[in-house]
C-alpha cells in the first residue's frame, strides 16, 4: 500500500525543500555513507591505482607502469592461475548445483524423515572451518598414508594410489565437501519451502512425474533465486583460497588467490602484478553480478505470494532410501572429516597406525601448553567477539537507516553494503594491505586486532544488513511511533523498542559475524602478524610447516567451537534464506 510506505518513511523524514537546515538524521546518514564508502570502496580504489604504479601509491617516486597488466595478459603462471580458477569454479558448480537442487527439494517439498535435522546438518557443514574439513579428508585421501588409499591398496593389491587429493580433482572434491553443496542447500531450502504447492500439484495432475515437476515447474519458478545462489556460490568458492594453498602447492597448482598470496609473500613483494590480477578478478566479478542482475530483473516471477500452502509430496517407499542418500552426503560433508580430524589429533604421527604407541595425547599437551596457541586463542576470541559486536551494531544502524530514515542516500548505503559480499576475501585482504601501506595514519593499525575485526566484519556485513532489514520491515512503524508519542527520544525508542523487538535478527547477525571471524582465512591472510594471529591462521601455518598433528588439534578446537555456536544459533531459531 502506497500510503503505508509513505507513512513509514515519514517517521524521520525531512523534506529538503521545506526543511533546508541539515538535521541530525541527514548528518549521521552522510557520515555513515562516508565511513562505509571509505571502508569498502577506498581499498578497492587503491588496488586499481596500485595496479598501474611501480611502487606504493604513497611513494611520490612511484612511476606509472603497465608492467602489472602486461604480466596478467602474458605471463604463463598468471594466465595459468586464471585458467585454473575458471576450470575449478566451473567444475564444482556443475556438480554441486544439481546435487544441491535435489537435496533442497527433498528437504523442503517431501516428507523425508528428519528433514529439520538434515537441514541443520548442512548448516553445520557450512559453518565448519574449511581447513579442518580438508585436513580430515587428507587423512583419508593422502596418496601415501591416506586411510582410504591404504585400505584399497591392501584390498586390490595396488602398488600406489588410487586417490590423490593433491590434484585438480582433489581440489574440486574439497570444495564440494566444504561449502559448494552446503551453502546452496542452506539458501535454497527456505526458498523452495515458500513456493505455493498448488503450482506443483497442477503439474502432477497434468501427468508429470515428480522429477519432471521439479524440472519443469519448480526450477523455472525459482530460476532467479537459483541464479542468485549460484553466483553467490561462485563468489564464495573464489573466496576460499586455503583449499588451493594446501592441496595445490605440492604439484604447483595455483589459482589467482594463491598466486596473489605468493606474490605478496615474495621477497621483495610484487604488489603490482598482485594488484593487476586482483583488479582483473574484480572485473570478472562485476560482469558476473551484472549478468545476474540482468537475468533477475528481466524475469520477475511472483514466487512468493502472501498466501501459500505447502503440501509435502509423499515419497512412499522412497522415504528411507532418500533419507539414506542425504544422510550419506552429510557423513561425507561433516561426520567423516570431523571424526578423522579428531582421530588425527590423537595419533603420534599423522596417518601411521602400525608404529608402536600409534595413539597418544602428546600433541594436545604440546599445543595447549604452547604460548603461541594460547595467544592465538585469545586473539580469536577478541577477533570473533569484536566482529560479532561490530556486525550487530553497524548492520543494525545501516539496516535502520535503509528501512526507516527516509534519508535520500539510504539506497546508496544499501548498495554499498553489498560490495563486500561480491568481492573475494583475498582481494579485500590485499586492498586493505594497500590502505595500510599507503595511509600513514592507518598504518599504525597494522598488527592490531582492530584492523582484523574491520576486515573480517565486512564478510558478514551484507548478510547481516539483509537479515536485520527483513526483521525491521516486518516491524510495524507504529510500535516506534507510539514510543515517540510517549515522550521517548529517538535513541530511547531504538534502545527500548526497536532493538528488543528485532533482537533475534540482530543476534543472528552477531552469531554469523562470530563464526565467520573465527574461521576466516581469506580476509586475514595478508594482514596477520604474529601479534594478532588467530587460530585459523595458526592452523594454516602448522599445515604449511607440515605439523599436521598440531594443525589437527587447532582445527578440532575451531570446529568444535563452530558446532557449539551453530547449535546455539539453531536453539535461537535462526533462519536464513535468500529472497529475490
Amino acid at each position: 500500500m502506497n500510503t503505508t510506505t509513505a507513512r513509514g518513511a515519514g517517521l524521520l523524514a525531512r523534506h529538503g525543500r521545506h526543511w533546508p537546515r541539515p538535521n541530525g538524521i541527514t548528518i549521521i546518514g552522510i557520515l555513515l555513507l562516508i565511513a562505509l564508502g571509505f571502508l569498502v570502496l577506498y581499498p578497492l580504489l587503491l588496488l586499481v591505482v596500485g595496479s598501474f604504479l611501480e611502487g606504493l601509491p604513497s611513494d611520490p617516486a612511484a612511476a606509472l607502469s603497465l608492467e602489472g597488466w602486461r604480466a596478467v595478459f602474458t605471463e604463463r603462471r598468471v594466465l595459468g592461475s586464471l585458467a585454473n580458477t575458471l576450470i575449478l569454479g566451473f567444475t564444482y558448480t556443475i556438480i554441486s548445483l544439481p546435487l544441491a537442487l535435489g537435496i533442497a527439494w527433498l528437504l523442503a517439498r517431501t516428507d523425508i524423515p528428519g528433514s529439520g535435522w538434515l537441514e541443520f546438518g548442512f548448516w553445520v557443514s557450512f559453518f565448519l572451518p574449511t581447513l579442518g574439513v580438508v585436513q580430515g579428508w587428507i587423512l583419508l585421501l593422502d596418496p601415501s598414508f591416506g586411510l582410504l588409499n591404504t585400505a584399497l591398496r591392501d584390498l586390490f593389491g595396488l602398488s600406489s594410489g588410487p586417490f590423490n587429493i593433491y590434484s585438480m580433482g582433489g581440489i574440486v572434491f574439497a570444495h564440494l565437501v566444504t561449502n559448494a553443496v552446503s551453502a546452496k542447500v542452506m539458501l535454497m531450502t527456505p526458498a523452495f519451502r515458500i513456493v505455493d504447492s498448488s503450482l506443483e500439484e497442477a503439474s502432477r495432475i497434468a501427468g508429470d512425474t515428480p522429477l519432471q515437476t521439479l524440472r519443469r515447474i519448480l526450477v523455472p519458478i525459482l530460476a532467479p533465486t537459483v541464479l542468485v545462489i549460484t553466483v553467490l556460490g561462485i563468489i564464495r568458492s573464489l573466496e576460499s583460497f586455503e583449499i588451493e594453498l594446501i592441496l595445490g602447492t605440492p604439484h604447483r597448482i595455483d589459482v589467482y588467490s594463491t598466486l596473489i598470496y605468493r606474490l605478496v609473500q615474495n621477497d621483495p613483494p610484487d604488489y603490482q602484478i598482485a594488484s593487476a590480477l586482483g583488479v582483473a578478478i574484480m572485473m570478472l566479478m562485476a560482469v558476473l553480478i551484472w549478468l545476474q542482475f540482468r537475468a533477475v530483473r528481466r524475469r520477475s516471477f511472483t514466487t512468493v505470494t502472501g498466501k501459500h500452502q505447502t503440501r509435502l509430496l509423499h515419497l512412499g517407499a522412497w522415504r528411507w532410501p532418500a533419507f539414506t542418500f542425504v544422510a550419506l552426503i552429510l557423513v561425507v560433508l561433516v561426520a567423516a572429516p570431523v571424526a578423522f580430524l579428531i582421530a588425527g589429533t590423537a595419533m603420534t604421527i599423522y596417518g601411521f597406525f602400525d608404529i608402536p604407541n600409534a595413539w597418544s595425547l602428546m600433541h594436545w599437551r604440546e599445543v595447549l601448553g604452547d604460548r603461541v596457541f594460547v595467544g592465538s586463542l585469545w586473539n580469536t576470541l577478541k577477533l570473533a567477539g569484536g566482529a560479532a559486536l561490530f556486525t550487530m551494531t553497524v548492520c543494525f544502524i545501516i539496516a535502520y537507516f535503509v528501512v526507516r530514515s527516509g534519508f535520500r542516500g539510504a539506497s546508496a548505503l544499501d548498495l554499498l553494503s553489498w560490495v563486500p559480499f561480491s568481492m573475494p576475501g583475498v582481494l579485500f585482504s590485499l586492498a586493505f594491505l594497500w590502505v595500510i601501506l599507503s595511509t600513514p595514519l592507518i598504518s599504525a593499525l597494522y598488527g592490531s586486532t582492530l584492523l582484523l575485526i574491520l576486515a573480517v566484519s565486512l564478510t558478514t556485513l551484507t548478510l547481516g544488513v539483509q537479515i536485520i532489514k527483513t526483521a525491521l520491515i516486518q516491524l510495524a512503524p507504529e510500535l516506534e511511533e507510539a514510543s515517540l508519542v510517549s515522550r521517548a527520544t529517538l535513541p530511547q525508542t531504538l534502545w527500548r523498542i526497536t532493538v528488543p523487538l528485532a533482537i533475534q535478527a540482530i543476534l543472528v547477525a552477531g552469531i554469523m559475524g562470530f563464526i565467520t571471524a573465527g574461521r576466516n582465512i581469506g580476509h586475514l591472510a595478508l594482514l596477520v602478524t604474529s601479534d594478532n594471529r588467530p587460530l585459523a591462521i595458526l592452523q594454516l601455518e602448522y599445515m604449511v610447516e607440515g605439523r599436521y598433528e598440531a594443525a589437527a588439534v587447532v582445527g578440532t578446537v575451531v570446529a568444535l567451537a563452530t558446532i557449539v555456536v551453530a547449535l546455539i544459533a539453531r536453539a535461537t531459531g535462526l533462519r536464513m534464506g535468500i529472497r529475490t
Partner: protein, 372 residues
C-alpha cells in the same frame, strides 16, 4: 450533555489551531489547505471515508508526519510552521495517542507498557496503578501484552496514552478492530473518562456511530478538505452539501422538477408522477421554478403503506425484493418511472414481493436540492 454544558464547550478557548495545512504523497494531494480549531475539553471527530486525509491530519498533529505547508499552533506555542522552519518533535508535544493497531509493545507487560512514558522521562510510576484502575485493568498488570484480548489491548493503549496527563488525546480509529458489543461499552467508557478528566480529544474514524455517539463536533472530510464542521444533530438534519447528505445516515432520493415556489412553500413534481408540497425553508436557496431538483428524505421519515396511493402527494410502487434485517425489513420498491428506491419497513408489516405499496414522505423533513 445538557445545553448549558454544550454552550460551555462551544465558548471554551481554542486549544489547537490549524491554518493552511497541505500535504502531498507522491504527487497526490492528501490534505488541501485545511483549517481547524479545536476547543479545550471537547471531543472533535474527523469523519470521512478512507483516503480522505483524516489520518494524515492526525499524524501531522502528533508530529509523526511533516506537512508541506501550513501551521499548527497549540495554545500559545507553535508546533509546526513550515514558513518559519519550526517543527516540534512528537515527544515534546504533551499529547497522548491511541493507534488503530494499538501498537502495544509485545515484549512488555501491561504495567510496563503503561509505565513506559513515565519511565523514559525518569518519573515515578506511582500513577500507573490509578490509570489501570480507571480503565479496569488492575488485575492484568503483570500479563504479557500479547496475552490480551482486543478490547483489553485497546484499554492498555488508552491507559498508556493517558499516563502522562496529555493536554490533547489523539485517537486513530480506536474501535475499528472490535466487535459491536465491545465497541458500545468502550464508547461509554471513553466518554466517562473524558468527562471525568476534562480531556480534549481529537478522534479519527470512518464509523458514523462512533462519531455521533462520542463527538461534540464533527468535521466531515473529503479529499483533504472539510465539507462541513458541525455538531452531530446539525450534520444529520441539515447537511450543507450533497456529499454530507449521502455520506451520513441513509437517505432516499427522488428526482423531480420545481413547479411552484412561494415564500412559504415549494412544490415539486416528481419523475414518478406524484407532487410534493414542502416548506420553502427545505429548499436550496438557489432554486427557482422549473429547476431540476432532487428531493431527499431520511429513511425514518418515510412511511410505506399497503395498496396504491390515493392522493396526489402519494407515491405508488411495486415491491421488488424484501430483506429481513432482524429488527426491520428493507424493501426495494420499483416506482412508476422504473426507478428503484430502498425503504425500511417495520417488522410488524410483512410485505410480499410484487405487492402494490404507497410511500408517504414527511414534508417537514424532506429537503430539496438542486440536481446539478
Amino acid at each position: 450533555m445538557s445545553i448549558a454544558e454544550l454552550s460551555a464547550v462551544s465558548t471554551a478557548a481554542t486549544i489547537l489551531k490549524i491554518r493552511g495545512l497541505s500535504k502531498q504523497f507522491g504527487g497526490m494531494t492528501v490534505i488541501d489547505n485545511l483549517a481547524l480549531d479545536i476547543r479545550r475539553g471537547e471531543i472533535f471527530t474527523l469523519l470521512g471515508p478512507s483516503g480522505c486525509g483524516k489520518t494524515t491530519t492526525l499524524r501531522i498533529i502528533a508530529g509523526l508526519e511533516r506537512p508541506d505547508s501550513g501551521e499548527v499552533t497549540f495554545e500559545d506555542g507553535s508546533w509546526v510552521s513550515v514558513s518559519h522552519g519550526i517543527f516540534v518533535p512528537p515527544q515534546k508535544r504533551k499529547i497522548g495517542m491511541v493507534f488503530q493497531s494499538y501498537a502495544i509493545w509485545p515484549h512488555m507487560t501491561v504495567f510496563e507498557n503503561v509505565a513506559y512514558p513515565l519511565r523514559v522521562q525518569g518519573k515515578s510510576t506511582q500513577r500507573v496503578g490509578d490509570i489501570l484502575e480507571l480503565v479496569h485493568l488492575t488485575d492484568f498488570a503483570d500479563r504479557p501484552a500479547p496475552a490480551l484480548s482486543g478490547g483489553q489491548q485497546q484499554r492498555v493503549a488508552l491507559a498508556r496514552a493517558l499516563a502522562c496527563d496529555p493536554e490533547l488525546l489523539l485517537l486513530d480509529e480506536p474501535f475499528s478492530n472490535l466487535d459491536v458489543h465491545l465497541r458500545q461499552s468502550l464508547r461509554f467508557e471513553l466518554k466517562r473518562i473524558q468527562r471525568s478528566l476534562g480531556l480534549t480529544i481529537l478522534l479519527v474514524t470512518h464509523d458514523q456511530v462512533d462519531a455521533f455517539s462520542l463527538s461534540d463536533r464533527i468535521g466531515v472530510m473529503r479529499k483533504g478538505r472539510f465539507e462541513q464542521v458541525d455538531d452531530g444533530l446539525n450534520l444529520y438534519e441539515r447537511p450543507l452539501t450533497s456529499y454530507v447528505r449521502d455520506f451520513i445516515g441513509k437517505s432516499l432520493t427522488l428526482r423531480g422538477e420545481v413547479t411552484g415556489l412561494t415564500t412559504e412553500q415549494v412544490r415539486v413534481r416528481l419523475a414518478c408522477g406524484a407532487t410534493l408540497m414542502m416548506p420553502a425553508t427545505s429548499a436550496d436557496p438557489d432554486i427557482a421554478t422549473g429547476a431540476d431538483v432532487v428531493v431527499s428524505v431520511r429513511y425514518e421519515d418515510v412511511l410505506v403503506e399497503r395498496g396504491a396511493a390515493a392522493e396526489e402527494c402519494g407515491i405508488s410502487g411495486i415491491v421488488a425484493a424484501v430483506l429481513f434485517l432482524g429488527d426491520h425489513y428493507e424493501c426495494e420498491i420499483t416506482l412508476s418511472d422504473n426507478t428503484t428506491i430502498t425503504a425500511s419497513v417495520p417488522r410488524s408489516m410483512k410485505l410480499a414481493e410484487r405487492e402494490a405499496v404507497s410511500i408517504r414522505i414527511d414534508p417537514g423533513h424532506a429537503r430539496v436540492w438542486s440536481a446539478r
